[in-house]
């Protein structure tokens, strides 16, 4: 099941709420890349890219792209004041040393332990690891944004991941088209339901055990 532009932006908008002033943030390809569009003006964030940029700004206007200034997904970006270029080894030095406050990644499966699978479906899809393994293992906070169910209608939030893992016990927060779920020491905690879904629909479409938060909110 694909999700439409509005829903993708709803997810991105909710993820943007996690980003606070002064943070260093890395956004993955796909829905994560939309998050930067939803950061309020007064929040100053340094966006990091694996290819070697700290301080990416918004997308350039059509016709003003610089083909040699792109994010890790290969799409043109701009710079903010204070930005710098460096090689990819340094870019990952920043990641491995734990300087990223938040990384927002896509996911194929997440489970009750906070394990993440997002790089390979053996025999079917082999996009490769990219930077996900380092990002998921080393960022201070790992947010996974994805559809709640896959295109066959099966849950992607599982008791135990079935696909090869990207990283173990790494995910802090899951944001889907249906729900916002926190990974806690005691398991998965349903904190918010995305409008127009109900708690019942979320539970039906989740294989993992979900505790429902006492102050459950609705995100519109």
């Amino acid at each position: 099941m694909g999700v439409g532009v509005d829903v993708r932006n709803q997810i991105a908008r909710r993820a943007a709420n996690e980003i606070k002033d002064g943070m260093i943030v890395n956004l993955g390809i796909g829905i994560p890349s939309l998050v930067s569009n939803h950061i309020p003006e007064e929040i100053h964030v340094m966006f990091h890219a694996e290819n070697g940029i700290l301080g990416m700004g918004e997308s350039p206007e059509k016709g003003f792209e610089d083909e040699m200034l792109c994010n890790a997904g290969g799409f043109p970006v701009t710079l903010v004041p204070g930005a710098s270029y460096f090689d990819s080894a340094t870019a990952f030095g920043i990641i491995r040393s734990g300087y990223l406050d938040i990384t927002i990644l896509g996911g194929l499966e997440v489970d009750e332990q906070g394990d993440l699978a997002n790089w390979i479906v053996p025999g079917k899809r082999v996009p490769g690891i990219g930077g996900a393994m380092e990002l998921a293992n080393k960022a201070k906070k790992v947010i996974v944004v994805m559809n709640h169910i896959n295109k066959n209608g099966d849950p992607k939030i599982l008791k135990k991941c079935s696909l090869p893992l990207t990283a173990k016990k790494c995910v802090n927060l899951i944001i889907t088209d249906m729900a916002v779920i926190e990974v806690t020491e005691e398991g998965l905690l349903l904190k918010e339901v995305m409008s127009p879904y109900t708690v019942k629909e979320v539970l039906e479409n989740t294989e993992a055990e979900l505790q429902v938060s006492d102050d459950l909110a609705i995100f519109i």
């Binding site: 890219a49 694996e50 290819n51 070697g52 940029i53 792209e65 610089d66 083909e67 040699m68 200034l69 792109c70 994010n71 890790a72 997904g73 290969g74 799409f75 043109p76 270029y85 460096f86 090689d87 990819s88 080894a89 870019a91 990952f92 030095g93 990641i95 491995r96 790089w119 390979i120 025999g123 899809r125 082999v126 996009p127 490769g128 690891i129 990219g130 930077g131 393994m133 380092e134 293992n137 090869p164 893992l165 990207t166 990283a167 173990k168």
Partner: protein, 232 residues
């Protein structure tokens, strides 16, 4: 990895460059998602008909962009990269067994290339531990913690794309097209840079040179990007 150094007059032709690249060469390339892949050299390799290459670089580009062209036209028997998602041809060749693909986590790949370039014989990391990545790799225990041993990567020939080069082979890059290029430039037994501009001695600011000329053996003029970007 000891090589003959010429201090000056490293400027040459595409033909000279291609005389270094043969069937079955181990070829390392700078670039990330096509950006920073050296277009003129890749086109030259393609037109020369070089095949059975072992390619080492960040990714497989796109089918018609950058290094992707050599992959999708079946010129590689092996690819060492961090991902191939943007080039479906790479996935197909991997599935049919026509091309062997070895994955490294992206930053570890970068460090392995750097290690090859600066003469470090191995690095320890916890990245990939407990994942498919650890298969076949040696583990080393330090202070009761286990790490994966990752080995350096080197190449017969490295190819990079620079913004400016001087006749000594000193290089500066263009914005995010820097990416893996400075690392790849160090790891080649023979390193070829194609540059958008070639300048005389002393015209590059010594403080801003990214790759010292000692790592570069041959500089050729670039004819510029000859593909249409995915976003265009």
């Amino acid at each position: 990895m000891k090589k003959t150094i010429r201090n000056a007059g490293k400027v040459g032709t595409l033909k000279e460059a291609l005389s270094r690249i043969h069937d079955q060469s181990i070829l390392m390339y700078g670039g990330f998602g096509g950006v920073g892949n050296p277009p003129t050299l890749i086109q030259g390799i393609y037109e020369k008909g070089v095949k059975e290459l072992t390619l080492i670089g960040n990714d497989a580009g796109f089918p018609e962009i950058g290094i992707g062209k050599l992959v999708s036209r079946r010129r590689a028997k092996k690819l060492i990269a961090s991902h191939i998602g943007s080039n479906p041809a790479a996935g197909q060749l991997m599935a049919t067994g026509e091309m062997d693909v070895e994955f490294s986590p992206q930053g570890i790949l970068a460090e392995r290339i750097r290690a090859g370039g600066v003469g470090i014989e191995g690095i320890l990391t916890d990245i990939g531990l407990g994942s498919m990545v650890e298969e076949g790799k040696q583990k080393v225990t330090v202070n009761e913690k286990e790490f994966l041993l990752e080995l350096p990567l080197k190449a017969d020939v490295s190819i990079v794309h620079a913004k400016k080069a001087d006749i000594y082979g000193n290089l500066i890059y263009d914005k995010s097209a820097r990416n893996t290029n400075p690392l790849v430039a160090m790891a080649g037994e023979f390193t070829i840079a194609e540059a958008d501009e070639i300048v005389g001695p002393g015209e590059l600011d010594p403080e801003c040179i990214v790759t010292p000329g000692v790592f570069v053996d041959l500089v050729i003029p670039s004819e510029g990007v000859n593909w249409k970007w995915a976003w265009e």
